[in-house]
Amino acid sequence: MEILIYGAVTSAIYAMLAVGFTLIFGVARVLNLAHGSFYALGAYGTYVGTGILGLPLWQAAVLAIAFVALFGVIVEKVLIRPLRYSQLGVLMITLAVSLVVEQALFLIFGSEYRNVPAFIDTKLSIGGVDVAGQRLLTLLVAVVSIGALYLFIQRTRLGSAILAISQDAEAAKYMGIPSDRIFSLVMAISASLAALAGVLAGPFLSVQPSMHLLPIVKAFAIVIVGGLGSIPGSILAALMLGYAETLVAYLVSTSWTEIVSVLATLLMLVFRPAGFFGKRAAF
């Protein structure tokens, strides 16, 4: 039972990260290695808001997410867009950005773990298992936010524009869709989701400068397994990976959990580069 719940929470966090990652790839063909930094900045932003600026948690969280969204848009406009002709170039530059952010966090805050307050401090009991309320909240928020995003894309005009661009960027331009502005919007959404994950998970996952690495490795794993550019694929793969990791942690040992995702990536890339639902193959 514990596995069921913890697995769900883990999957929820991964899903939030993966969906954002796959969204920006599906729309702009950008493999954003700085995505993990959005997650980290969400957590650190909340810490700064509450710990240093003394704001209430809600305000700090909202500010942090807004800040990260803005940061993401700026990075996209200034650093990524000029290099869009080269996927490798984008890879290098986002990797460099993630390193710069990590270093900046390290220089400003040092390497000790920081404390991000939780929205819900109490433990709840579900099915005989004690679960931290915060974890359940994370699960809830993840489901709501991803659901909202899905509805947004399927039901609104803006959402249709996004879908159009992800299918054929050139054609979308001819139809008058302002792709540049949509890229910024999608980046903002993508970054916000990651930051939200950071805000929610900060209290129970470690907050230190290198916290961006593992999420990006896992987001990449999920997106490769689920298929680049496919949101349902990401959700499915996030569930698979979240549960796989939780199972490994309980049955084998926690040190092996990291390998699960990376191994999954490698194996998937080797045997089925398009992933389960992917539209674009890796070759």
Binding site: L31, L79, P82, L83, Q87, L88, G89, L91, M92, I93, L95, A96, V97, L99, V100, E102, Q103, A104, F106, L107, L213, V217, F220, A221, S255, W256, E258, I259, V262, L263, T265, L266, L269, V270, P273, A282, F283
Partner: protein, 315 residues
């Protein structure tokens, strides 16, 4: 004319001169500090050159180069400490082991498009790093393997040994890059389907060049192990690969000789920044960003080309 790019005499002479100057430097400025810095620079040079030969020419950027380095280094550690063999065994074994990994990883990953190959290799390096930590009883975990014996006790002589290897490897790979090997690798970068239509077995060439790249990376790893006298999982980290890639960018992708200059420059820069130790990585990353944007051809190679023209050589 044979049509292949020639290693013109001017460049060759310049390279030889640079090598001599580097060898002589510690004699002019004595002290183990300089020797240490230059030794590390030379080893990074070997790593950078080996990366450039494969990734610089084919355009398939390998984000997991640190895997071959770590494998070579750990091989040295194992042989020397766990198996108590003499240190000279490390050199051939590290090369062979790294080459083996290259074959193993190359087959499945080289058919992937650029970014996916890069990330697959990155994942492989991360896995290796994790494995070193998981099997800590055999590998020493976080602390790695300590008390590795040096190859040559005298620091200066070891430096000259490493420098000599750097020279040999650079000239060898530089020559290869300008021969039909290099032409084919650059053609692979140009268009793979057309290569097939021209009769070139691209998979073979890609794998062999990865193997060559890995061999020298592993050798460098062993040399590093016998210099630092210890190895740790940090060698497998992304940071190592990114540092090397930055050095190649600075030197000039695909030029083979440029990356040596890049390695030297950046190692000296790192030392210069030692006072602001924590800022080093930051500087590297920002530097990388700037170079990708403003100097995609690098610093060293274009500079050398201008110098060459100024002295009357060909452009």
């Amino acid at each position: 004319m044979s049509g292949f790019k020639q290693l013109d005499k001017l460049s060759g002479a310049a390279g030889a001169t640079a090598l001599l100057l580097l060898a002589a430097a510690p004699l002019v400025f004595p002290g183990t500090y300089l020797i240490g810095v230059l030794t590390v620079a030379a080893i990074y040079g070997i790593w950078a050159v080996s990366w450039d030969f494969m990734s610089g020419l084919t355009g398939r950027e390998n984000f997991g180069h640190s895997l071959f380095i770590g494998v070579g280094a750990y091989a040295a550690g194992f042989l020397n400490v766990q198996m108590e063999l003499g240190p000279w065994w490390s050199l051939p074994v590290s090369m062979l082991l790294a080459m083996g990994f290259a074959v193993l990883l190359g087959f499945p990953t080289l058919r992937l498009k650029g970014p996916y190959f890069a990330l697959a290799m990155l994942s492989a390096a991360v896995i290796m790093q994790r494995l070193m930590l998981i099997f800590w009883e055999h590998t020493g975990g976080e602390e790695g393997i300590q008390d590795i014996a040096p190859l040559i006790r005298n620091h200066l002589h070891y430096y000259w040994f490493v420098l000599a290897l750097l020279g040999v490897i650079t000239f060898l790979l530089g020559w290869l890059a300008r021969s039909r090997w290099g032409l084919i690798l650059r053609a692979i970068r140009g268009d793979e389907a057309t290569c097939l239509a021209a009769g070139i077995p691209i998979t073979t060439y890609k794998i062999v060049s990865l193997v060559i790249s890995a061999a020298f990376a592993g050798l460098g790893g062993a040399l590093y192990a016998h210099y630092q006298l210890q190895v740790s999982p940090q060698l497998f980290a992304v940071v190592t690969s990114v540092t090397i890639i930055t050095m190649v960018y600075v030197g000039g992708m695909g030029t083979i000789f440029g990356p040596v200059g890049g390695a030297l420059l950046l190692t000296l820069l790192t030392e210069g920044l030692r006072n602001v130790g924590e800022w080093r990585l930051m500087v590297y990353s920002v530097l990388l960003i700037l170079i990708i944007f403003f100097l995609p051809d690098g610093v060293i190679a274009p500079l050398w080309r201008r110098l060459r023209v100024a002295v009357g050589g060909k452009p």
